[in-house]
Structure formats: structure tokens, C-alpha cells
Amino acid sequence: MSVTSLRTERPRGRVSSGLFKAFLLFSMGVGILTLGALLVTVVAKGYKYLDLVLLLEPPSADPQIAGARPAILATIYLGLLLIAFTVPIGVGTALYLEEYADRDRWYNRMLEVNIQNLAAVPSIVYGILGLAFLVRGLGLGRVLLAGAMILTLLVLPTVIIAAREAIRAVPDSIRQGAYALGATQWQVVWRQVLPAATPGIATGSILALSRGLGETAPLLLVGALTYVAFDPTILGDFTALPVQIYQWVGRPQEDFRILAASGIIVLLLILLTLNAFAIWLRNRYQRKW
């Protein structure tokens, strides 16, 4: 074969591949530029009130001394409760579906389809459920616990799906090796599958947590108050950082809009820290089989 025959004789292929590359760059650009523009405007506007007053003081009618302390605390409480509720239920469900469930049974297939669908339900619908079932039906009232429970329902499908992926990524040869040594199914799951899947489960749970903490709509429906001047308790009135921001944005005074931008920066920092932790966890425990 001569060297010349190795040259491409299809210029059209080159053009379309170039066009495709340009399209890909454009798509990436849209995402990055939008995010960049958002960050820049928010920071430019909000740096003014980004200080200890914002972190440590309760809200006030005077923007100079108004802070988001109750909202930040409530967001932290919500996050902790969310992890405590979602991880056991989510991992349990994922383990059942991956390791125990018989796929040929109609109820298991229905369960799977249901979970996939629930992941796509708008969050406001969860809010309505929370209001009707938790606040009124169970009579919990408009408390932080109800907010945490509704966020749990909201992110549970995401956690289940992430945990299932992680469990499925554990090679079958590991299970077989453990069974061949006389391990019971319980021992195989607890001593091999779960430890091997833990990094993936942790990553998925943290990403789901950061989604839950950014939610506003369902919390408004289950009764997060827009003005809370005292530290929250689990069975008491509460607000949350996104709700606080929402409230400030709605105020007519320009100063409160700046305060809202500052609040957004705090929320973003919390979420970015969580996401960075998830990425670190993934890289730290990445496995080669």
C-alpha cells in the first residue's frame, strides 16, 4: 500500500467532523458562560453584605444588621436529618433491588419503574404531599422535621439510583469468590458488596443532599416561614437558606436584594463544598478491578 492511499479522500468527512466539534465547543461554552455570568453578577452584587453579621445575626427589618443565622442553622439541621433518613432507606432499597429481588416478579419490576418515575416528579408535588400527608394528615405541623421528611422523599429516588449503580459496579466475581468460601448471602452483602460500593454510594448521597438543600418550593408548602428570628429546633418553626433568599428578593428595598445576593453566595459555598467533597471521595476511593 502506498503512503498516499493513507490520506483521507473524503473532505466532507473532515468538514462535518469540524462542524460537530464546533457544536460541542458551543454547547460547553453556553454552560460555562451562563454559570460564569451568574457567579460574577451575584458576587459583584453580594460581596457588600458578605460578613459575620450575615452569618451570625438573625434577620431584621434593617438590612444593615440583618443576618441569616436561623436559616443557615436550619439548612445544616435539614442536611443532617436528610442524610440520617435517606442513606439507610436508600441503600436498603438499592440492596434489596440489586441483591435480593427476583426480577421476574411483577411487584419488583413495578417498584423499579416507580422509583425511576419518582425521580422525575417536580418538587412542588412533593411539597403538596408533605402538606397534605405530613403536616395535616399526620398532624406534625409546620415544623423542621416535616421539611426534612419531605426533602427525604424528594431525594430518595436519586440516592436509590446512585446506590444501585454503585452496587451493580461491584463485579460478580467478588460475590462468587465469597460464596465459594462458604459465605452466606448476608455475609457476602455486608462484608464484600457494601464495602466495595461505599465510595459510589457516598458520592451519590452527597450529590443528592446538595440537591435537597437547594430546594425552596416544597419547604414553602410544608410551612417554612419566611421570617424566623430565633434559632430553629427540630420540632419548631423553621426557615431555610433558599427560603430566606426568596424572601429577601421579594422585598422592595434595594439593600435586601444585595442581602439576597450575599445569601446566595453562602448557599453556593455550602453546595460547592459538598460537591467538592463528593468528587474528592470518588477520586480517593476509585477502584480498579
Partner: protein, 279 residues
């Protein structure tokens, strides 16, 4: 048979195992396996003897791997797999109603085709079996003995806490053998244990099989006829039978002392296979 000359001697010069010394470990009667109603293996009858190395050879799809997995209930983990016929283990029905697969696998260990160490330390790999079975008295000694028997101790004794995944492929496979020995089984099933390894690692595994047969009964599936000729006392040749609708079913063609299989097989199909005319 002396270890030093093993492997260089052609099969026909080796001694035949003495029939009077045979003690039956497994007695297989009309065994068949089907997956979702499709037969994969049928009508297998043979006996496996204590402290022998028994090899299963044959072309791809002949059911030899399916067969070896019947001895420790591993087929039970595959949905749709069904076993017909009987296997008696020291006279007890291996598939009887009251048989606990966990109890079976405790006595009948298995080494797989691809080394599958757990993503844990070398020590934890060897200790996994004893731990799940509650044999934790003198765990360190047990781990050390198993690694020594698997000819791995000298290579890993200074880094027992290191990840098993940091070992080479051949070392990983010997670790898997050690893991299996740590629970002191009676039988070791090996499903193409050297097929993913280089020739030097393969030789070490084969040497190991010679050592281990003094204490254990070994059943090995192999693709490699030379390997069967080198390590096995008895050899079973499996082949594929095509049914009327083109379905492929594994059958046992011939089972005999290894030298006989390789030099004077009584079945034409065996002769075609071992002389390389088929498969």
C-alpha cells in the same frame, strides 16, 4: 511419580494410578444441567477419587465449566439453572433436601478462571473464609499456613497489609488458592485456573497442584491439553452434541486414566481431539 521428572516425561511413560488405592469422593450419576429448560449438559456418569487430580478437557461449550460448578452448588446462583441426576459426596446426596450450600462450599473450595481477589489486604483475603465460617482461633497461623501451602508466603510475608490488587496476576491466583486452603476444604475445584496467566505463573500453579494433591482432592477444568497431560491422574473428555434443532449439549465422551486418554483413547472423538484434528 517423581516430581522432578514430571512434565518432561511423555504421558505414556507415567504410571497408571493403582485402582486398589482409589477412594471415591464424588459419584456422579446421570447428571444433567439445563438453563431455562435448554439442556447444557446431559448424561454424565463418573467417579472422582481422593487425592487425585482429575482434569476435565474439551472444546468450548462442552459443559465442563457447568459441570465443575455442580460440585459446590455454584449453579444455584444462576437464575434458571436446573440440575438433574445425582452427585453423591462420600455417599451423601449433594443435592438432597437438607443440604446447606454453605456447608458444601466449606468443604469443597473453588478457584476461578480469572483471579478474583477481594479489594482488601492480602491478609484479609486469606482470612475471609475463616472469618465467615467462625474459624478464628489462631487466625494468623491459619493465614500463614494457607499462604505457605500456596507457595506465596515468602513473597508477601512483609506486606500482608498491602492491597491484594497490587499483586501480579499469578500471585493473585495463588492468593485465591490460599484463600480457599485457609478453610481447610477436602476438595479444591479449579475452573481453568491458569488460563489468564503467563507460562511461568502457569508452571507455578501446576507445581502447586502436584504438591496439594497429597492433602487435597483436586478437580481442574482446562482448555490446555498439555496441562491436563502434565497434572492430571484421571482425565474426562467432554464434547458437544448437536441436537436435531441445532441446540448444543455437552456430553461426557470418555473418562479414564490420563495416559490412556492421551495415548490409546477408546473413542474416535477423543482421539481426534487429543491429536488436534478437532477442537
Amino acid at each position: 511419580m517423581s516430581d522432578t521428572i514430571r512434565g518432561v516425561l511423555p504421558a505414556q511413560q507415567r504410571e497408571l494410578p493403582d485402582p486398589s488405592l482409589r477412594e471415591v469422593v464424588f459419584d456422579v450419576d446421570d447428571l444433567g444441567v439445563s438453563y431455562n429448560g435448554k439442556p447444557a449438559l446431559k448424561d454424565v456418569n463418573l467417579e472422582i477419587y481422593r487425592n487425585f487430580v482429575t482434569a476435565f478437557i474439551g472444546p468450548s461449550g462442552c459443559g465442563k465449566s457447568t459441570f465443575i460448578r455442580c460440585f459446590n452448588h455454584m449453579n444455584a446462583l444462576i437464575p434458571g439453572a436446573k440440575i438433574h441426576g445425582t452427585i453423591h459426596y462420600h455417599g451423601a446426596d449433594l443435592y438432597g433436601h437438607e443440604v446447606d450450600p454453605v456447608e458444601v462450599r466449606k468443604r469443597i473450595g473453588m478457584v476461578f478462571q480469572k483471579p478474583n481477589p477481594f479489594p482488601k489486604s492480602i491478609y484479609d483475603n486469606a482470612a475471609f473464609g475463616p472469618r465467615v465460617l467462625g474459624m478464628t482461633d489462631d487466625l494468623d497461623g491459619r493465614v500463614e499456613r494457607a499462604l505457605e501451602q500456596a507457595a506465596l508466603w515468602d513473597e508477601v510475608k512483609d506486606r500482608l497489609k498491602a492491597s491484594a490488587l497490587s499483586l501480579s496476576g499469578g500471585q493473585q491466583q495463588r492468593l485465591c488458592i490460599a484463600r480457599c486452603l485457609a478453610v481447610e476444604p477436602e476438595v479444591i475445584l479449579m475452573d481453568e485456573p491458569a488460563s489468564a496467566l503467563d507460562p511461568i505463573a502457569t508452571t507455578r500453579i501446576e507445581d502447586l497442584m502436584h504438591e496439594l494433591k497429597n492433602d487435597y482432592t483436586i478437580v481442574v477444568v482446562t482448555h490446555n491439553m498439555q496441562q491436563a497431560a502434565r497434572v492430571a491422574d484421571m482425565t474426562a473428555f467432554f464434547s458437544v452434541e448437536r441436537g436435531e434443532e441445532g441446540q448444543r449439549t455437552g456430553i461426557l465422551v470418555e473418562y479414564d486414566a490420563t495416559p490412556k486418554i492421551f495415548t490409546q483413547p477408546s473413542d474416535q472423538r477423543t482421539e481426534d481431539y487429543v491429536t488436534g484434528r478437532f477442537g
